[in-house]
């Protein structure tokens, strides 16, 4: 019973944060509500027994990635968004389609599936030792490939964000 109350509480925070992200017009408010969504998702992971995933969710998602977002918003001094004509077509056609799809999926999940089996709390322990064993034995090759991927992404970010004048100045200094 307590688990169900906790699930509802954090799920409500999740949904409220996601809706708030849509409603707010200033990007910094959207970013803060996204942090709330991620933090309460970490609590949901804890309810599912995934302790390590919950910790990484807080550290990487709510910490590192959202700091990147907030710094970019501040760096670019982003203000309120203005509405323009192009967005009206997307609202008229896209929003009903997405809502119909979402309602169909929800109906299928609730009434037409055999997913009603309850998930026992703590049946699957996601403690770091087990995850590390899996990550460094069965998934060793994907793990190494992702390390190369993130290295390339860092270099790409530097190349994209650097000022062309700075590169020219550096070349002049060298030569």
């Amino acid at each position: 019973m307590l688990h169900f109350i906790l699930f509802l509480f954090f799920g409500a925070i999740c949904v409220a944060g996601a809706v708030n992200l849509l409603v707010q017009s200033h990007p910094i408010n959207s970013a803060l509500s996204l942090i709330a969504v991620m933090a309460s998702l970490a609590a949901e992971y804890l309810l599912l027994g995934a302790e390590f995933v919950a910790a990484v969710q807080v550290i990487v998602y709510a910490g590192a990635i959202m700091v990147l977002f907030v710094i970019t918003i501040m760096l670019l001094n982003a203000g309120k968004e203005e509405r323009s004509k192009g967005s009206r077509v997307a609202i008229l056609l896209g929003v009903p389609g997405v809502l119909i799809g979402g309602v169909l999926v929800a109906w299928t999940l609730l009434y037409r599936s055999n997913m009603q089996a309850p998930v026992p709390i703590g049946a699957l322990k996601g403690d770091p030792a087990d995850i590390a064993r899996l990550l460094f034995h069965n998934f060793l090759l994907p793990f190494e490939v992702t390390s190369v991927l993130i290295l390339i992404a860092i270099m790409g970010a530097v190349v994209l964000a650097i000022r062309p004048e700075a590169v020219a100045r550096g070349a002049r200094k060298d030569g």
Partner: protein, 100 residues
């Protein structure tokens, strides 16, 4: 004891909110945050299915999704900075030319 379908429903709601934000938002940074919201919804269903099928590899895949999200955030925000530097706007409707 919470049914699996409730977790999947929550993940579906988050995903739908992300798609809606992608459609109706005009600020390029907020569109980017909607993509992160969709990735989070998918992660929740990964963890829920991992608990349901007693397969820990579902949780390992969450880490791969997180790495992809981090790489995507780094490159995407660098692209946003480059776009802002050349066009001085964050509205996606005004970014409609490939070449200036």
């Amino acid at each position: 004891m919470i049914p699996l379908s409730y977790y999947l429903l929550l993940s579906g709601i988050l995903f739908v909110c992300g798609v809606l934000g992608f459609l109706i938002k005009r600020n390029i940074i907020t569109i980017f945050m909607s993509i992160e919201l969709m990735l989070n919804g998918v992660n929740l269903s990964f963890v829920a299915f991992a608990a349901h099928w007693h397969a820990l590899s579902g949780q390992v895949f969450v880490f791969f999704v997180m790495v992809v999200a981090a790489a995507e955030a780094a490159v995407g925000l660098a692209i946003i900075i480059a776009v802002y530097r050349t066009r001085e706007t964050l509205n996606v409707d005004q970014v409609n030319l490939l070449k200036l």
